[in-house]
């Protein structure tokens, strides 16, 4: 097996036994990047020099016996997480030349593990989108079919892992932005509980929904990365001050005694028949592994979640993105002496179509006369959605759903119809509204296109969904299939 194809735990084993060096592994990934990037366009920036320097340092740590599971392992970071001295663009013209003077907490934590950063990945601009088509730079291609989208907004991170451009990646998830692309590319993607991972240094989109998480080649790797990035951070006031367990300890292949619910509302008209078929088969598999599955679970507010999300997320975004004024950093329109004109033109030329649409939507929902009808109403329905999940979790340890209603769609197919694009996140959005953890794992293919299964857990119940995902992965080999590029 070539270096770039390894998982974290495989590579760590070889590094420790000195059968592979971090420099060799890093060069292998960089070579793979050079080979596949012309077709896939997953990366905004490749950080060759930084990576090789970090790899050399990692080799020194390993030689001293001072290594941990992430030392010397190449990682790709979504381009909305600040990397000190490395351009962080959010795939936006607004931040095209922005070089952060500090690291995001997650980056700091990975660096302190001796990580090797090989690149920054493409995304929908400011993480607003489900296909990477809203990147201001280019659209990333799905490695399973280059004419299709990889999902979004963390599409670049998902593709990079599906195509072995690095060993693992970080993404961010506001309404499905880790899970939907992970499902579309057949990799593992975890959105932790809100507050589990620090958001410090993550460029803010919707602050009450945003959460950083791993994209990996298997569930064990997912647990390893979560171990490294989870935990309290006093620089994020919504960071949860709860202890972090060792997430690799819960990975056992036996699901006896676990109760899993299948919410009725997630199997409705509009879902692709092959997706439903694959999910039913995957659920049977979980039963076979000893889980008790109940199909009578009901979450009646499910049809309201999309509207709640598209009021709350753009409202928060419109406030967060007010900071882009062309004064402190970022794109700045200079062809006028008038301050207001400069401000309006900076935002007109700096932001792309979808970002403007959401700023408009959010501004409208928060404006005088509409606040109660839209924003406040959405926040109240949000409470009902969370209560409904809480009730379900009194009876069930986890819920299982498809990740998306369809397989990856064609590039261009939904670009002119924002509502259709929004609907591709209909199964992932409720999880962010309620602040729950959820993981997507490969669960089959339809005509060679990936299908993902989503497992939703209780707040801070990452161990349970990782355990179920691990048991399913041990019993299947979907995750071992690789796209031919």
């Amino acid at each position: 097996m070539t270096g770039y194809q390894l998982t974290i735990h495989q590579a760590h084993g070889l590094l420790k036994k000195k059968q592979l060096s971090a420099v060799e592994l890093t060069k292998s990934c960089l070579e793979r990047i050079r080979q596949v990037e012309p077709k896939l366009h997953a990366l905004v920036t490749v950080t060759d020099e930084l990576a090789l320097n970090q790899a050399k340092k990692a080799d020194q740590l390993i030689a001293k016996g001072d290594s941990n599971p992430l030392t010397g392992i190449p990682v790709i970071i979504k381009d909305n997480m600040c990397t000190n001295g490395v351009r962080t663009t959010c795939s936006s013209k607004m931040l095209e030349n922005f070089v952060p003077p500090y690291d995001a907490t997650v980056v700091e934590r990975l660096n302190s593990c001796g990580a090797v950063i090989v690149g920054k990945s493409n995304m929908d601009e400011f993480a607003m989108g489900s296909s990477t088509e809203h990147s201001a730079f280019f659209t990333t291609r799905n490695p399973w079919d280059l004419s299709r989208v990889p999902g979004g907004s963390s599409g670049g991170s998902a593709v990079a892992i599906a195509a072995d451009e690095a060993i693992y990646a970080l993404g961010s998830d506001t309404g499905g932005s880790i899970r939907q692309p992970a499902g579309f590319c057949s990799v593992i993607g975890l959105k932790p509980t809100y507050g589990r991972v620090s958001r410090y240094g993550l460029v803010a989109f919707a602050s009450s929904l945003d959460q950083i998480g791993p994209l990996t080649k298997d569930v064990t790797d997912c647990a390893i990365v979560l171990n490294a990035i989870a935990g309290y951070d006093n620089r994020d006031s919504t960071s949860a001050p709860y202890p972090v367990p060792d997430y690799t300890k819960c990975l056992t292949a036996d699901l006896k005694g676990l109760a899993i619910g299948v919410p009725k509302e997630y199997f409705v008209a509009g879902m692709q028949a092959e997706v439903e078929k694959a999910l039913r088969a995957a659920i049977n598999k979980l039963e076979g592994l000893g889980a008790k599955v109940n199909f009578e679970v009901s979450l009646p507010h499910t049809p309201h979640t999309l509207a709640v999300y598209y009021i709350i997320a753009p409202s928060e975004a419109s406030a967060n993105l007010a900071r882009y004024d062309g004064v402190k950093y970022g794109f700045s329109y200079q062809e006028t002496d008038n301050m207001w004109e400069a401000l309006e033109k900076t935002r007109q030329y700096g932001f792309g179509d979808e970002v403007k649409r959401r700023i408009m939507l959010g501004t409208y929902a928060l404006s005088a006369g509409y606040y109660d009808a839209y924003y406040l109403k959405a926040q109240k329905v949000r409470t009902l959605i969370r209560r409904e999940f809480d009730q379900a979790f009194e009876k069930y340890d986890a819920l299982v759903t498809p990740t998306s209603p369809t397989v990856p769609f064609k590039i261009g197919e939904k670009l002119e119809d924002p509502l259709q694009m929004y609907l591709s996140d209909v199964f992932t959005i409720p999880v962010n509204i309620a602040g729950l953890p959820a993981i997507t794992i490969p669960a089959g293919f339809a005509d060679g296109l990936p299908i993902g299964m989503q497992l939703i857990g209780k707040p801070f119940g990452e161990e349970t969904i990782l355990k179920i995902a691990y048991a399913y992965e041990q019993a299947t080999d979907w995750h071992k299939r690789k796209p031919e590029i």
């Binding site: 003077p101 949860a240 004064v327 950093y329 207001w340 400069a342 033109k345 403007k356 406040l376 924002p418």
Partner: protein, 99 residues
Amino acid sequence: MGKIMKLSREEVLHIARLARLGLTESELERFREQLSNILENFEILQPVDTTDVPPTTQSIPLQNVTRGDETTPSLPRDEILANAPQRDGEFFRIKAVLE
């Protein structure tokens, strides 16, 4: 409830002005159409009974998170100003606010 009126041109311009967002003529028309469609979909929430339901602002039970009032080092001024589109010595340079 029911079908809401399509946003007027003036309403779209008003929102754009609140957001300090310049729009071209074609963007204005397109957003008028698209935003009206999206807002119409939000009507699904109006019949939901939310009597006595408190709003949720974020999903974990943390309140009044503060830090100690202690001085810690800030980032170096030059590093912050390195990203400034226009700087003047140790200041951000901006356009005149008052003419």
